[in-house]
């Protein structure tokens, strides 16, 4: 057993790390402040192949493994959590279900556009009354001739106002409960597609998150993903993979909190010496680093199991649960180490503090992760 990235994975991680330091770090605070979507960064990332990491080469992607994917998301998120989640959703919640459940025609039509970044992807599952209880969704899709007519509202949609290709879930058979949900590939140019209000959030402010409104939205019949009634299964398996991305994002945020804390603790002097010389600070740094490494290994483990083609639901939930709670723990300590300065927007840890919280909520709250883990253990 080898707990180490291979040379190719390291080379990719180093490339992304350098890219993030040069292209993302200098603008991350500004985008957060303005609530500006990282469009230019995504264009640059597309040129490097980072929007098609897991997409097979025959559809224009790099066809890489999930472990590599997780390292990419971590490095991007280390400098900008918003760019991290946009990349994660684009790859694992949009490209992946098309790769897994799409027809050859769907793959040929949509995957190259996602890989080149021509279109950004979004995943529209959540509704005002269907969050953790995804099965309770009310959006409907009715087949009329060769088109599905979709009506309903979605909410908290990452990249909602910017996405060109969306995976949308809607009820096609109300009597069949969760087995009556279907998945569709939707383009934002389709008639009846409307972007609702954009949320004013606590953090990840460069990621525009919005409502989506479907009013008699017409979706061609051939855009049904999988079969009618497959939607709930598609959503759950897709979210399993998404959790690896969010867990990696959380590790990136936590690592950034540690990086900032180490730098600050070495240069901030109190009582005549750097605060890094005080045991109170040393213990916080040691605890942060230890938890982060444990979280990273859980992420790699979940990615490794997925790469093997085995069931990875429990492993992904464990990684997401532990990594997101580690991120929260790390940013609390990081702000504490920075003292009053850490509470100001002059310092990166203030942004990290706001960004970290969402990782415990989206793509399954910590409570849902515990449910998934327990269900896997207890049956």
């Amino acid at each position: 057993m080898k707990l180490e990235l291979n040379e190719q994975q390291k080379m990719i991680r180093n490339m992304v790390r350098e890219f993030a330091e040069k292209e993302i770090a200098p603008i991350a605070a500004e985008l957060d402040k303005k609530g500006e979507y990282p469009t230019k960064t995504l264009e640059k990332m597309a040129k490097l192949g980072l929007l098609g990491i897991i997409i097979p080469t025959e559809y224009g992607g790099a066809g890489l493994d999930v472990v590599t994917y997780a390292t990419v998301i971590e490095e991007i998120s280390r400098k900008c959590a918003s760019t991290g989640v946009i990349t994660s959703v684009h790859n694992s919640l949009v490209a992946w279900p098309i790769m897994k459940y799409g027809t050859e025609e769907q793959k040929k039509k949509y995957l190259p556009r996602l890989a080149t970044g021509e279109k950004i992807g979004a995943f529209a599952g959540t509704e005002p009354n269907a969050g953790s209880d995804l099965g309770g969704m009310q959006t409907t899709a009715v087949l009329k001739g060769n088109k599905y007519v979709i009506n309903g509202d979605k909410t908290f949609i990452t990249s909602g106002p910017k996405a060109g290709i969306l995976i949308v879930f809607a009820v096609t058979d109300k009597s069949a409960a969760s087995k009556g949900i279907s998945a569709f590939i939707v383009e934002n140019t389709m008639k009846g597609f409307k972007v609702g209000s954009i949320f004013d959030k606590m953090g990840i402010n460069a990621n525009l998150v919005s409502e989506l409104i479907f009013e008699d939205m017409e979706v061609p019949k051939e855009n049904l993903l999988g079969k009618e009634g497959d939607g709930f299964k598609i959503a759950l398996s897709t979210l399993d993979g998404g959790r690896i991305g969010i867990a990696a994002q959380a590790v990136g945020i936590a690592q950034a909190a540690l990086d900032e804390s180490i730098t600050y603790a070495k240069q901030r002097e109190q009582f005549g010496k750097p605060i890094a010389k005080f045991q109170a600070i040393q213990w916080m740094i040691a605890d942060m680093a230890t938890r982060i490494q444990a979280a990273r290994f859980l992420v790699y483990n979940a990615a490794f199991v997925k790469d093997k083609g085995e069931r990875f639901s429990k492993e992904a939930a464990m990684a997401k649960l532990y990594a997101s709670e580690t991120a929260m723990d790390a940013v609390i300590k990081a702000v504490q180490i920075h003292g009053g300065y850490g509470y100001t927007k002059e310092y990166t840890v203030e942004r990290l503090f706001r960004d970290a919280k969402i990782t415990e909520i989206y793509e399954g709250t910590s409570e849902v992760q515990r449910m998934v883990i327990a269900a896997n253990l207890l049956g």
Binding site: M11, I12, N14, M15, L48, G49, L50, I53, A62, L64
Partner: protein
């Protein structure tokens, strides 16, 4: 144009710590990388190749793990790599002879590009030594290179002035880090680099390179930097006057 780029694997100097008691640099566990300015040299080679076509070969004298660093250069855009094992005892003289022998073995070339110096030792000797051994023109500290069919024009950065030089081929240039911004390889380029050849030549393959070092390194130690910690606490005008006096005394201002 056939271009040869000389690249050195170095420790990431920003990560080096100095052992407080022995003053020796702690090198264990420090990541290795390609010396930054050598990447500028490769970037310039890629730009020339994009304009004129041809082939880029990178040569590294280094430890076996330098092969992984060469792959990074192949991902960036080099076509072939050559790795020569670093002899246990080697100085600039030895390395320059090995590089010269390797260049002769490659045979056909128009341009050799090097960084102006490596980021670890920063002697700046390798380019000039290599040009001398090959007996070809050299242009050091190139901040701009324009390639024409029969001649090459380059602007040398000499600090407060720049000198423009024209030469015929073949020519060796050392580049400054300001000359360009080295590109990052895409995922696809990283993947395809695995299929590009890296030739491992032994010192014996380069028989003419039977040379022994002229310089022996006795020790490497960090230089402690002591701050004077003088604090001027009078009112601003007086403090500024005193500060200027102190700086003048220290020889910083004249």
């Amino acid at each position: 144009m056939n271009i040869i780029v000389c690249a050195k694997q170095v420790v990431d100097v920003s990560e080096i710590k100095i052992d407080a008691s022995t003053k020796k640099p702690i090198l264990a566990g420090i990541p290795q990388k390609i010396s930054d300015i050598d990447k500028n040299a490769l970037e310039e080679a890629i730009k020339v190749k994009e304009k004129t076509g041809g082939k880029i070969t990178v040569i590294t004298v280094g430890t076996p793990d330098a092969k992984e660093r060469i792959k990074e250069l192949l991902a960036m855009g080099a076509d072939e790599g050559v790795l020569i094992p670093q002899p246990q005892h080697a100085d600039y003289y030895v390395i320059a002879h090995l590089l010269a022998a390797a260049v002769k073995k490659i045979g056909s070339y128009d341009i050799i590009l090097c960084g102006e110096a490596s980021i670890d030792m920063f002697s700046g000797q390798m380019g000039p030594r290599l040009a001398g051994l090959l007996n070809i023109p050299q242009i050091t500290y190139a901040q701009k290179i324009t390639v024409e069919k029969d001649t090459l024009v380059s602007e040398r950065n000499l600090g407060d002035k720049a000198v423009t030089i024209e030469t015929t081929y073949p020519v060796l240039l050392t580049v400054t880090k300001e000359i360009n911004q080295p590109r990052l390889p895409s995922l696809m380029q990283i993947l395809s680099a695995a299929n590009k050849p890296i030739h491992e030549w032994s010192v014996a393959d380069l028989a003419s390179a039977d040379v022994t070092p002229k310089v022996h390194t006795i020790d490497v130690k960090g230089v402690p930097m002591q701050r004077k910690n003088i604090i001027f606490q009078d009112d601003v005008d007086q403090s500024v006057t005193k500060l200027v006096d102190e700086l003048a005394k220290a020889g910083v201002l004249r």
